[in-house]
Amino acid sequence: MVNDVTVRKGLAPWKWLLLPMMTAVILMAYLWVGDAQGFASPRSARIIFWHVPMAMLSVVWFFAAAFYSVRYLVRHDEFDDTRAAKAAEVGLLLTTLATVTGAIFSKMQWAGGLNRPWYEGYWQWDPKQTAIVIAILIFAAYFALRMSVDDPNTRARLSAVYCVLAAAAIPFLYWVLPNLPAMGASMHPGRVVLSNTGLDPQYKATYWLATLSFLGISLWVYQLQLRVEQVAARRLGVREAAAEEPRLEAVRKTAVEQPVAER
């Protein structure tokens, strides 16, 4: 399964579709959608088309990693371990991008905000900022664990277990922790995207198109990463087989050609 690398000519049709989709999102976001109300700098409300889809999709990828981890623990298919690692990698990339875009936005928008009126920097320790930092740390620890175990089977098993544990913490981080009263009031708007009245139709259309496009792009990144792993595994397999060949030949000679007494 690992070794059959299917060679396809050209891109799959849905990957071609990503180009017009993403172009449409950019054009819609900057030319079609109007400025939002109730923002310190109304133009910056367009962050919703980049920051929010990435934060949301990171959850999808973390759960995908957990799904493949569980499947590895059940079926022991080595490639499921690779899938889990690559899915976690895409999730980590998305959370990092969401954090960076969010930090830039928070300086523009939240300087002198309600929790720390005296603070004008990039990081307010808003409950959701706290939560996403913990999520990043958890999956960084997942890769630290992967790096420090040498045996592939042990690495796959231990990191799968850690990934499932991490995924169990994710709902708490994304949906429970930010709503705890002790974390302080959040400056993130709550429940805008999924409600019926939170967004204008224009915003809504652009937002969901952006989410779909980012899903496609992250899926593409994920597939490319898997292909790299597949090719590397195949090359390793070829090299090992080549190294094995003379040794097998020697064994065959000893076993077949030499008389028993000489061995």
Binding site: L137, A141, V161, L165
Partner: protein, 259 residues
């Protein structure tokens, strides 16, 4: 004599627990590590941060007078004091307390599994008890260890840092639930560390993010208990611990056995 009689699950849990207690009493390795770590950290913190002495509000008068005194003379000695009964002092001391407890627990808790691998007794344990019973016994042992550490650390903390505890029941409950939560989260991670070639340095990076919600809730909750106003964090602590404990119990067999 009665070799044919199958042992029950709880008997196995108890046997694993008693075995660990017995071997701990003989060497006292984990206990000594954790206690030394905790005491040294507390003393260092007290030497450095203890200069932020607490003065009673009765000595300073009202908090307004305190603020006024700082305004009048910014270089005054009064700057070194952080009055008892202020939220800031409660939060600071609560954070110090949990950081000491967390880091000392993380230094000692993986020992319970790492020592099985080091002494090459893991295989024997794998043969003689079912995985769930091993998890139960180790969890029980770790819980006793952390609670025991807390029993030593809390009085020391109270004497050295003199926090004014406004709400004793809430304070003790937060300490109890928080330490149990740390034991619950760290048991499976200790097993992972021991299986990853006994690399004890892995414990902190693995456990820290997973237990960070526990730490945040415990610090917040203890601060309100010291201060006396505000809600407690017990529901959040208990629910997170139960969720993590359940997932850990389900996953433990995959870490412990080789299949």
């Amino acid at each position: 004599m009665n070799t044919a009689r199958p042992s029950t699950f709880y008997a196995e849990v108890w046997a694993v627990f008693i075995k660990d207690v017995r071997s701990e009493v003989r060497t006292r390795a984990a206990l000594a590590t954790i206690l030394l770590f905790a005491v040294v950290t507390l003393i260092v913190l007290n030497i450095c941060a203890g200069k932020v002495e607490g003065a009673g509000l009765t000595q300073l008068g009202l908090i307004e007078n305190y603020v006024q005194a700082i305004r009048d003379d910014p270089k005054a000695l009064i700057l070194r004091t952080l009055p008892h009964g202020t939220l800031l002092r409660s939060q600071l001391l609560s954070a110090l307390f949990w950081v000491v407890l967390f880091f000392s627990a993380m230094a000692g808790l993986p020992r319970t599994f790492v020592k099985e691998e080091e002494n090459r007794t893991a295989a024997a344990l794998r043969l003689s008890a079912r995985p769930a019973a091993v998890y139960g016994g180790k969890l029980l042992f770790n819980a006793c260890l952390t609670v025991g550490i807390a029993i030593v650390i809390v009085p020391l903390f109270l004497i050295l840092f003199e926090p004014w505890v406004a709400d004793w029941p809430s304070f003790s409950l937060h300490v109890l639930v928080g330490t149990l939560a740390m034991a619950g989260g760290a048991t499976l991670l200790g097993a992972i560390v021991s299986r990853a070639g006994g690399r004890a340095y892995l414990m902190l990076p693995l456990a820290f993010p997973i237990l960070l919600p526990v730490l945040i809730c415990a610090i917040n909750g203890t601060a309100t208990a010291l201060y006396g106003k505000g809600g407690n964090q017990l529901v959040a602590l208990v629910s997170y611990t139960v969720a993590m404990g359940t997932v850990s119990a389900l996953l433990f067999e995959k870490v412990w056995t080789d299949a």
